[in-house]
Subunit: 188 residues, 2 copies
DNA sequence: GTCTATATCGAGATAGAC
DNA sequence: GTCTATCTCGATATAGAC
């Protein structure tokens, strides 16, 4: 892996584990095995590194979601596949966790990818739900926008509950919970 | 307000705004107006202050929730009141945000109140849902444990979405979403 | 109880040699 | 491009006077 690549990946991991405030340039150098001078040659500083790392996480998150949304199947099947996809629950969401980082939210450049990723996700999920409703899979009273927000929130909140409990179980239970509620809206 | 009180309150606010890693003893002294020597006289250090502050937040969170759960009304009415209660959405949850703090989760003493608060909340909500189901308010297929997890997750995830968007709207939408799904399980 | 002085270490860079 | 030296602050205390 190239020096540049190792810097971005190490920053990504550290932001994921410790957040922006909790990540130091020195820690990035140690994890990547890249020297001080080299790091500052490739990047302007901590925020510059973070921008590259966040961009990559956002891209990956969208690709993972899109793969499920674009797959064949009913709306519920695709949403179920999205929610139940394999993931390291206790690690949490690399983008969602940044939301709690005051220095990230205070910097427009770092904040934009966070905002855009969730806006895209919400819109895409609402689209899948609207499509399902229009095809007659759901009863006509289902609200695609509100339901999409609830689904995304269950994911993000599921991570919180899992970390609080030190176990992936609350996450799985929360996902089961929304899917159970959603199943009741399927037209028979 | 007493010196001790000001220290705890200032720590509580700072943990809420900036997390444990992002809060320094100096910042606590400045916000509280308490001097260095005085602070270290009353508390052993940063983690000791945090323990007192977290304990207070946890207590408050439970009291706020219990007030809604113990009120008169149907299960859905009480859960609606809990979810729609007035709150400063963009500030987020003082306990949930700690979940993203590696130094909090690594310290058993700081972690315990976080874990216990969510365990209590989940159990209490599941109890309200089970009671509603047993009274015939819901259809018998409703799963109280999974639904309770989903409801708590929507709250915690709603904060994440709101902060990402810089607006309280996604939170309200997510709450509307679960309540809309839950409403469909009410026996007519 | 509260204050000021002092100490150690890491954060976050910049400078210039190689 | 990479390395080492150096710099300035702030984080997090401890010590001892008042």
């Amino acid at each position: 892996m190239s020096t540049l690549e190792r810097l971005i990946e190490s920053t990504r991991e550290l932001l994921w584990e410790r957040g922006y405030v909790g990540t130091s340039p020195k820690a990035i150098q140690q994890r990547s095995g890249v020297g001080q001078g080299s790091m500052y040659h490739h990047f302007g500083g901590k925020s510059d590194l973070a921008l590259a790392a966040i961009g990559r996480s956002a891209e990956e998150m969208r690709a993972e979601a899109e793969a499920r949304f674009a797959a064949p199947g009913t709306a519920v099947e695709r949403i179920t596949a999205y929610l139940r996809r394999e993931r390291d629950v206790l690690r949490g969401c690399p983008i969602g966790r940044l939301t709690q980082d005051p220095d990230v939210m205070a910097d427009p450049a770092l904040r934009r990818p966070v905002e855009e990723t969730f806006a895209w996700l919400h819109g895409r999920l609402a689209g899948v739900l609207a499509e399902g409703r229009d095809r007659g899979e759901f009863d006509a009273g289902l609200d695609p926008l509100a339901t999409a927000s609830a689904v995304v929130a269950v994911l993000q909140g599921g991570y919180v509950l899992a970390r609080a409990a030190g176990s992936a179980e609350p996450f799985a239970q929360a996902v089961d919970g929304v899917l159970g509620l959603l199943a009741a809206r399927i037209r028979t």
